[in-house]
């Protein structure tokens, strides 16, 4: 949907300091750009639940972290998300790969449940489903930040 360089430029514009991530094959192509951006720290986790808690600690310490995972990781990390966003009340933002969204009639249950799960959590999200929507992401991030509420950008993908 956008290149790593476009993403890094957007994150710099937004003041993001840390990307905590466990990528899939679609967002994984941003790795080189993210790890070579001098103003960003890339934190690799072993499982997605870790990402929410690390981001919470960074936020408490005054930084501006961004969580970046796949939708399967969203499902897996539900308890950590619940705790950080709702018990601790920390308004984190996440970029989440939306596996199989672009495949018409996909039987992938990861596609089927992604948006219902975000709605169940009451999370404000935006869908990025075609090239050139970096501004949509930036604007949504800013709106969530200004309102001090958590947010998600779903990045539409093909197969895993």
């Amino acid at each position: 949907m956008f290149t790593g360089e476009e993403l890094v430029a957007a994150l710099a514009q937004l003041g993001v300091t840390h990307v905590i991530w466990l990528p899939d094959s679609a967002i994984g192509v941003w790795e080189t750009a993210l790890e070579s951006a001098p103003e960003l720290s890339l934190v690799r986790v072993c499982r997605e639940g870790e990402a929410w808690a690390i981001a919470a600690g960074l936020h408490l310490g005054g930084k501006s972290p961004l969580v970046m995972i796949q939708n399967t990781g969203l499902f897996d990390s539900g308890d950590a998300l619940r705790n950080v966003l709702f018990d601790l009340g920390i308004p984190l933002y996440a970029v989440i790969g939306y596996r199989s969204y672009l495949i018409e009639n996909s039987p992938d249950t990861a596609k089927k449940f992604t948006e219902p799960v975000l709605k169940a959590w009451g999370l404000d999200y935006v869908l990025i489903d075609r090239p050139g929507q970096i501004d949509t992401f930036v604007e949504h991030y800013r709106r969530c930040l200004a309102a001090a509420r958590p947010g998600v950008a779903l990045i539409a993908e093909g197969a895993m």
């Binding site: 870790e50 600690g57 950590a80």
Partner: protein, 192 residues
């Protein structure tokens, strides 16, 4: 050798506390307030079980000028052993994780962890094999007391496993007030 009493094991850290951030959860969140009322205590309650060291890692990365001590239980650690690899990869020089090992889920009534049935589960060895070079294990209070100052001041990340006795029927976990209020107080303490 009988395991250490939890409160005595924690007192070793409390007695030599300077200005470290101390993150507690589960059993340590219940016992630590008996020893400390420091503004940089962060009681991670309610928590997501297994994520306390990750919260502490985030703090350590955000504030490299401060030392961060994270207490966790072995039941919690077992839920997220990968966190040790994550910590080793991030390499925070200012983070110490102290696992309180009693081989029980005391928070749910004292059921055994999967590790309780094996004498071979060695958390310090797991930490070392995960890439945390400074990994220690203690089952003797005096040895722990003697070693702690050097461990605390060492370049991290560091890991300590303490073999502690269950608290037993006295175990009662009380959430110490609204999280929002506690976070505001913690942030205020950080700004001072």
């Amino acid at each position: 050798m009988p395991p250490m009493e939890l409160l005595a094991a924690l007192r070793v850290v409390a007695d030599t506390r300077r200005d470290e951030i101390v993150v507690t959860t589960m059993g340590s969140a219940r016992e630590w307030p008996k020893l400390s009322r420091h503004p940089l205590d962060f009681h991670y309650l309610p928590s997501a079980m297994g994520q306390s060291p990750m919260l502490a890692l985030g703090m350590a990365l955000a504030m490299p000028e401060r030392r961060v001590i994270s207490f966790t239980g072995d039941g919690s650690l077992l839920m997220n052993l990968g966190c040790l690899v994550t910590i080793a990869a991030a390499g925070p020089r200012n983070l110490t994780v102290i696992a309180l090992v009693n081989r029980l889920y005391e928070v749910t009534g004292g059921q055994k962890t999967a590790a309780a049935t094996s004498a071979h589960v060695d958390f310090a060895a797991i930490a070392a094999a995960s890439g945390i070079a400074a990994a220690h294990s203690f089952d003797d209070l005096e040895a722990w007391r003697a070693a702690w100052p050097a461990i605390r001041d060492a370049v991290g990340p560091t890991f300590v496993a303490l073999q502690v006795a269950p608290v037993g029927p006295a175990y009662q976990l009380v959430v110490p007030g609204p999280m929002r209020t506690r976070i505001e107080a913690f942030r205020h303490a950080l700004r001072r």
